[in-house]
C-alpha cells in the first residue's frame, strides 16, 4: 500500500513537471538588455500599403493607332483597366533582334510609361514565359502591341531607348486578340477621344484634341507625426537634438544625420561614411525595400525617374500625376543612395483623406497646348505633356486643406511646370509657372 501511494505521488509530480516544462517552452523569451539603454521604441510605420514593382511602374498613356490616327480612352481609369488586362496576356516566343526600319503597321496600341525603366522589370510586370532580357542596359519607356490579322495573333515590341535593339514576342491567346480587335472597332465611340502627336519633343507625346473639363478637389488630409519620422530615421533617438529653426520647422540632428520637418514635408540627410559590404541591388530594389519597411508609400506613388544613385516617386490621384514644386515637395518621395546606404530622403508627409469640396475647371484645348508648346524654344527638351493636379495647401479657420487643381503640365529637365499661355493670346485667367 505504501508503495502505491508513493507511486501516485511520483506520477503527480511527473505530470506537474511536464506541464511546467511545456508551458515554459511556449513562453520562454530570452531576457536581454538592449545594447544601448534606449527607451524602447515601438515599431513605427507610416501606414502606407506595401508596394511592388508592378504597383510603381504604371503607364501614363495608352494610345491606339490605326491608319495614322491616334486615340485613347477618355478616362485614364479605363486605360489603366485595359493595362491590367494586358498584364494577364501570356507573352511567348521572346526573341531579341536588331531594330529594322519602321514598317508601316496596321493597327497597334502603344503603352507609354512616365520614364525609361530597365526592360528586365517587365518580367515581373507582365505575364512572360521567359525573361525578356539579361541586358541591364536595355531601357524602354514604352511598348507596342500590334494586331496581326493574317495569323490572328498579337505581336509585342519593346524598342530600346537608344533605338538600337528590339525585343519581340507574341501573344497567341485568341481572347486577347479579340479584345484588342473589338477596341479598334469601336474607337469612334464616346469613351474614346482623338489624339494628336506632338513631334519635335524629346519623345513621342500624344495630346487629346478636344477641350476637357476636370474637377478640382479640396481634401482634408493627415500628416505624419514628426516623432514617428524621427523614430524611423534615427536608430537611437536618445542622442538626437531637437530644435525649432523657424516657426513650424523642426530640426532633428545628430553628428551625422539631420532631419528637417516643415510644412508637411521632410528632408533627411545622412553623411556617415560606412564601409559596408556591397550588395548587388538596384537603387529601385533598395529603395523599395527601405520604403516598404516603414510602410512609406502613403498614397498612390509611382516611379517618376531614377539614376544610378537616386530615385523619385510621384503621387498620383485619379490616375493623374500630382505636382507641388515647393522646397519641401509635397507630391514626391525622393531618395539618394550611396554605398548601399540611404544618404538623402525627401518626402511628402501628406496623405489625402476625404473630399470636402469640388468644382469644375475647364482646361485649355489640346489645340492651344500644341500651339503654345510649338511656340516654345525648348520644344526639343519636353519629355512629357500631361494633365496634372497642382497640389497646394489652403488654410481656413478650420485648419489646412489640400487643394488639387487640374492643369496642363509639361515636363522639362525632369521637372513639371504649367504649359505657358501662348504669347499671342491675352488670356490672363490662369496662373503662370509654379
Amino acid at each position: 500500500m505504501k508503495l502505491e501511494t508513493a507511486k501516485s505521488l511520483l506520477l503527480i509530480i511527473l505530470i506537474g513537471t511536464s506541464l511546467v516544462l511545456t508551458f515554459g517552452m511556449w513562453n520562454y523569451q530570452a531576457e536581454y538588455r538592449p545594447l544601448n539603454d534606449v527607451e524602447s521604441i515601438d515599431e513605427v510605420d507610416l501606414g502606407g500599403e506595401e508596394q511592388e514593382i508592378s504597383d510603381l511602374v504604371k503607364p501614363n498613356d495608352v494610345v491606339f493607332k490605326m491608319n495614322g490616327e491616334f486615340s485613347s480612352y477618355k478616362e485614364p481609369e479605363d486605360s489603366m483597366q485595359f493595362f491590367e488586362d494586358i498584364r494577364q496576356w501570356e507573352l511567348t516566343d521572346i526573341q531579341r533582334n536588331d531594330l529594322e526600319e519602321d514598317t508601316e503597321s496596321g493597327a497597334e496600341v502603344e503603352i507609354i510609361f512616365p520614364t525609361e525603366v530597365p526592360l528586365s522589370l517587365f518580367d515581373t510586370i507582365l505575364n512572360v514565359d521567359s525573361t525578356l532580357t539579361n541586358n541591364t542596359n536595355f531601357y524602354v519607356d514604352r511598348f507596342s502591341i500590334e494586331l496581326q490579322e493574317e495569323e490572328e495573333v498579337l505581336h509585342v515590341q519593346f524598342v530600346s531607348a537608344d533605338r538600337e535593339e528590339v525585343v519581340e514576342g507574341t501573344i497567341y491567346s485568341r481572347t486577347s486578340y479579340d479584345e484588342l480587335l473589338s477596341i479598334f472597332g469601336e474607337l469612334t465611340e464616346d469613351e474614346y477621344e482623338e489624339k494628336q502627336l506632338l513631334t519635335d519633343a524629346a519623345r513621342d507625346i500624344y495630346i487629346p484634341k478636344e477641350k476637357k473639363a476636370l474637377t478640382s478637389y479640396t481634401y482634408t488630409f493627415d500628416s505624419i507625426e514628426a516623432v514617428d519620422i524621427r523614430n524611423i530615421m534615427f536608430s537611437n533617438p536618445n542622442v538626437v537634438s531637437v530644435s525649432e529653426t523657424a516657426p513650424g520647422s523642426i530640426m532633428y540632428r545628430t553628428d551625422n544625420r539631420q532631419l528637417n520637418i516643415a510644412g508637411y514635408g521632410m528632408r533627411f540627410i545622412d553623411v556617415a561614411e560606412r564601409n559596408t559590404e556591397q550588395v548587388d541591388n538596384s537603387v529601385l530594389q533598395q529603395s523599395l525595400n527601405n520604403i516598404n519597411a516603414h510602410r512609406g508609400f502613403t498614397g498612390d506613388y509611382r516611379l517618376e525617374g531614377f539614376t544610378e544613385d537616386s530615385i523619385a516617386y510621384r503621387m498620383y490621384q485619379f490616375e493623374y500625376p500630382v505636382v507641388n514644386n515647393s522646397y519641401m515637395d509635397l507630391s514626391t518621395i525622393y531618395q539618394e543612395w550611396q554605398n548601399d546606404q540611404l544618404s538623402k530622403y525627401n518626402r511628402s508627409l501628406v496623405s489625402l483623406n476625404t473630399v470636402v469640396n469640388t468644382s469644375e475647371k475647364e482646361l485649355r484645348s489640346g489645340e492651344e497646348i500644341m500651339n503654345s508648346i510649338q511656340q516654345n524654344e525648348n520644344t526639343a527638351d519636353i519629355q512629357d505633356v500631361q494633365i496634372a493636379y497642382r497640389l497646394t495647401i489652403e488654410t481656413d479657420d478650420n485648419g489646412d486643406y489640400v487643394l488639387l487643381e487640374p492643369n496642363w503640365y509639361q515636363k522639362v529637365n525632369n521637372s513639371w511646370s504649367v504649359v505657358p499661355e501662348p504669347n499671342t493670346n491675352t488670356q490672363q485667367n490662369l496662373e503662370g509657372g509654379s
Binding site: 502505491e4 507511486k7 501516485s8 511520483l10 506520477l11 511527473l14 505530470i15 513537471t17 511536464s18 516544462l21 511545456t22 515554459g24 517552452m25 520562454y28 523569451q29 530570452a30 536581454y32 545594447l35 544601448n36 539603454d37 534606449v38 537611437n236 536618445n238 542622442v239 538626437v240 537634438s241 530644435s243 529653426t245 530640426m251 540632428r253 545628430t254 553628428d255 551625422n256 544625420r257 539631420q258 528637417n260 540627410i269 553623411v271 556617415a272 561614411e273 560606412r274 564601409n275
Partner: protein
C-alpha cells in the same frame, strides 16, 4: 493490481517525456540567449601582431559618462571687440552675423624655432579671448595655419569650423592674423555605451584604414560632428576617438565615432580649404569687406593665396 501496473507505465512514460522536454527546453534557451557582444581584445591583439602593427599610444584611459553633447554658436559682442582693441598691437573686428572674429597684428608675431606646443598657447594667449577654452589642434603645413580646437566638457571639439581659433602664418614664421569662432554652452544630449579605444583601433583595421607595418601613435578622446552646416541651429557632437596612424614618415588622423564606429579620415587641408574657408569664412569676410572693413580685405587676400593650390576644380 492492474491499476498499479498502469501507474508504473504512466510513471515511465512521463519520465521519458520529461527528459525529452528538458532537453528541448535547454536547447531553446541556448538558441534564444543572445551572445554577449564583446569584441575580443585578445583576438585584436593577435591580429595586430600578425600584421606587424604596433600600438605605441596609450589606450587605457577612462572616457566620460556623458557622451553626446549639443551646442549652438556663440555670437561675439561689441564689448568683446572693444576689449580686444584695448590690447596693444592688435585690431579686431567681427563679421556681420557676429559669429566670426577677425584680428590683425599690427606687427607680426614671430614664432620662435623649436617651440613646444604648450609654449605656443602661452605665446598667443595675451592676444586672444577665452584662451583657456582652446587647446592646440594641428599645424597645417599645406596652408600654413595653426589651429586650436575649442574644448567642451573638458575635451576638444575636433576639426569644427564653428569652434576654432585659426592663426595665419606667413613664410617667415610670423603670425599676421587670427580668426576665432566659438560655440556656446554645451548641453548633454544623451549617453550611450561607448566602445573602448581598443575597439576603435579594431574598426580602423577592419575598414583598412590601418594596414600592415603601420603604427598607432596617438589616441585621444573628444567630440566630432560631421554635420556642421551653419544656420540651422544646434550642432550635435558625438563622442569620438582621434586616432593617429603613422606610416613611415607620414601621419594620418582618423576620427572614429566611439558609439557607432563610423570612421572619417581627417582630410584637414580639404576641410579647411573647401568647407571652412570657401563656404564659410570667405563668404563672411566678403560681406565685411563690403562694409569697408580693412582687416577683412587683408585676410581675404591671405586666405585666397593660401588655398589657391588646393581649390577643387569647379565642376
Amino acid at each position: 493490481m492492474q491499476w498499479s501496473h498502469i501507474k508504473t507505465l504512466f510513471i515511465l512514460s512521463f519520465l521519458v517525456l520529461n527528459i525529452y522536454l528538458l532537453f528541448q527546453f535547454i536547447d531553446k534557451q541556448q538558441d534564444m540567449d543572445i551572445p554577449e557582444l564583446e569584441v575580443n581584445d585578445l583576438n585584436l591583439d593577435e591580429q595586430l601582431d600578425q600584421e606587424n602593427i604596433t600600438v605605441s599610444a596609450d589606450t587605457d584611459f577612462e572616457v566620460p559618462e556623458l557622451s553626446y553633447i549639443s551646442s549652438t554658436q556663440k555670437e561675439f559682442t561689441q564689448t568683446e571687440i572693444r576689449e580686444l582693441n584695448d590690447i596693444d598691437d592688435i585690431d579686431a573686428a567681427k563679421s556681420v552675423d557676429n559669429k566670426l572674429l577677425t584680428v590683425e597684428f599690427s606687427s607680426p608675431l614671430e614664432i620662435p624655432e623649436n617651440l613646444e606646443r604648450g609654449d605656443l598657447s602661452d605665446l598667443v594667449s595675451p592676444y586672444v579671448l577665452n584662451t583657456s577654452e582652446f587647446s592646440f589642434g594641428t599645424w597645417n603645413h599645406d596652408l600654413n595655419i595653426i589651429v586650436f580646437y575649442q574644448n567642451k566638457e573638458g575635451y576638444p571639439l575636433y576639426l569644427n569650423q564653428h569652434a576654432m581659433l585659426t592663426f595665419y602664418v606667413n613664410d617667415d614664421r610670423e603670425i599676421t592674423h587670427y580668426t576665432q569662432t566659438m560655440v556656446g554652452d554645451a548641453s548633454t544630449q544623451g549617453s550611450t555605451s561607448l566602445n573602448t579605444p581598443k575597439i576603435a583601433i579594431g574598426t580602423l583595421l577592419q575598414n583598412r584604414f590601418l594596414n600592415a607595418e603601420e603604427e598607432v601613435t596617438n589616441v585621444t578622446y573628444g567630440y566630432y560632428s560631421r554635420i556642421d552646416e551653419e544656420g540651422e541651429g544646434t550642432q550635435v557632437f558625438a563622442p569620438t576617438y582621434k586616432i593617429t596612424v603613422a606610416e613611415e614618415d607620414e601621419e594620418n588622423d582618423y576620427f572614429v565615432n566611439a558609439a557607432e564606429s563610423f570612421t572619417y579620415p581627417g582630410n584637414y587641408t580639404e576641410y579647411f580649404t573647401t568647407k571652412m574657408f570657401e563656404e564659410n569664412y570667405l563668404q563672411k569676410l566678403y560681406s565685411m569687406s563690403e562694409d569697408d572693413e580693412e582687416i577683412a580685405d587683408d585676410l581675404i587676400s591671405i586666405i585666397e593665396d593660401k588655398i589657391e593650390p588646393y581649390r577643387s576644380e569647379p565642376e
